[in-house]
């Protein structure tokens, strides 16, 4: 099981390296939205609560652009059924999920500093910021991998992924924004919110794992 997960992760990683399109598109999407926001504000001073919301909107849509095709390449190449013969469904799910998480962490390593520089924002509590972002992308990758499996069979794909992902990840989205604001202001944060966030990460992980079995 662990071996299969690792193999699928490694396979996706190699394919990702060879065909850089998906990853490049996600990074450029993040950069484009940040540039669009920053340019249109023309140096206006923005409140921290607004900045926190902007940051998560950028992360959400860049995530959508990056991970919506998690299963699409294999579906198009006709190799998805072979993959299903090779590995247990749970191994496929968690292998893909780990790869998604790795790409999202790579995305935020690029996105977060760029955002802070472009919007002239000082991260007061850097430890809280990193924890929040990490907890946020864990939830996004858990729900996102299952959602990507759902949209693979859709004939019309344009825009479908974010529509499906948003309501499901709202319990992640709202607490992360509040926590990010606290991190920007370096004020005392609500531990309750962090617990809510982490428990929804766990709920989404378990639910994806249970529901994925019904998909083939």
């Amino acid at each position: 099981m662990t071996e299969q997960i690792a193999t699928i992760f490694w396979k996706d990683f190699l394919v990702g390296l060879r065909r850089k399109a998906t990853f490049a598109a996600m990074m450029m999407f993040a950069l484009t939205t940040m540039a669009a926001l920053s340019l249109s504000m023309r140096g206006a001073v923005v409140e921290n609560n607004f900045l926190a919301a902007l940051l998560w909107i950028v992360i959400f849509f860049a995530t959508s652009a990056g991970i919506s095709g998690t299963f699409d390449d294999e579906q198009a190449a006709g190799t998805l059924s072979t993959l299903k013969i090779y590995a247990a469904p749970q191994a496929i799910l968690f292998g893909k999920m780990l790869f998604t998480l790795a790409s999202l962490i790579a995305l935020t390593i690029f996105l977060l500093p760029t955002f802070l520089i472009l919007f002239d924002c000082s991260a007061g509590n850097i430890f809280l910021l990193i924890t929040t972002v990490l907890a946020g992308v864990i939830g996004f990758s858990a729900a996102g991998t299952l959602t990507a499996a759902l949209t693979t069979s859709a004939s019309v794909k344009g825009g479908l992924f974010p529509i499906l992902l948003f309501p499901v990840t709202l319990p992640i989205f709202l607490p992360t924004i509040s926590l990010t604001e606290s991190a920007f202001n370096s004020e005392t944060f609500s531990a309750e919110l962090l617990i809510i966030l982490l428990s929804f990460d766990a709920i989404l992980l378990v639910a994806s794992s249970i529901l994925f079995d019904y998909l083939d």
């Binding site: 729900a143 299952l146 959602t147 759902l150 949209t151 069979s153 859709a154 004939s155 019309v156 794909k157 479908l160 529509i163 499906l164 948003f166 309501p167 499901v168 709202l170 319990p171 709202l174 607490p175 509040s178 919110l193 809510i196 929804f200 709920i203 989404l204 639910a207 994806s208 529901l211 019904y214 998909l215």
Partner: protein, 202 residues
């Protein structure tokens, strides 16, 4: 069934128009609340109905449950729109604005998004069997947000919304007459939902 429903609905509407006194300071338009509460109630019932049939489908793989799940969602979508619009009108009357992201408004808006996403997903998948599976899984996934919407959002944001009929103190702050008519309206709307759900052509 249809005959009974017509009479019951007519009686309820008549009672709301003629028996219920106008709300103090708000006038007769405030009676839209007798439309708002039942439609909001049914939109939540329909949401759980849809998830329930989705779970039954995944267990049995019988397409009739998928049809019921889809129908519940379609009806729920209509009811949730009606509840939102009537709620916004009532909100304008009492709070002075149609919309201000009150926790209840947030909750109902998320419900609109979920219904919309579910129905979009259904229309995007052409194969009948795959569509049934995929939409059942999404339906169950979206139920996970319910504890968040019901227990956590009201804590994060301040609310002006009146207490639900069954409030935490467990006591009813209503006149008996009004309560009876409101319950009649709730029952009536629920029967309308069940009636429509059992119609073949939808």
């Amino acid at each position: 069934m249809l005959k009974f429903l017509t009479i019951f609905t007519t009686l309820t509407v008549a009672a709301i128009i003629f028996i219920v006194p106008p709300v103090q300071g708000l006038g007769n338009l405030a009676k839209i609340i007798y439309f708002h509460i039942p439609t909001a109630w049914v939109s939540v019932i329909a949401f759980f109905c849809s998830a329930f049939f989705a779970a039954k489908f995944l267990k049995s793989q019988e397409l009739k449950f998928d049809k019921l799940s889809a129908k519940s969602a379609k009806l729920g979508f209509i009811f949730v729109l009606l509840a939102t619009i009537s709620g916004a009108i009532f909100s304008k009357l009492t709070w002075g604005a149609y919309w201000n992201w009150d926790p209840r408004q947030t909750t109902i808006f998320v419900l609109i998004l979920i219904y919309g996403a579910y129905l979009t997903l259904r229309s995007a998948v052409t194969d009948e069997k795959i569509r049934a599976k995929v939409s059942a899984v999404y339906s169950l996934l979206s139920v996970l947000t319910v504890p968040f919407l019901v227990f956590i959002i009201p804590r994060m944001y301040f609310s002006l919304h009146p207490e639900p009929i069954l409030n935490q103190a467990g006591k009813l702050e209503m006149d008996t007459e009004i309560l009876i008519i409101l319950i009649a309206a709730l029952v009536d709307t629920t029967i309308i939902f069940i009636y429509l759900l059992r119609q073949k052509a939808m």
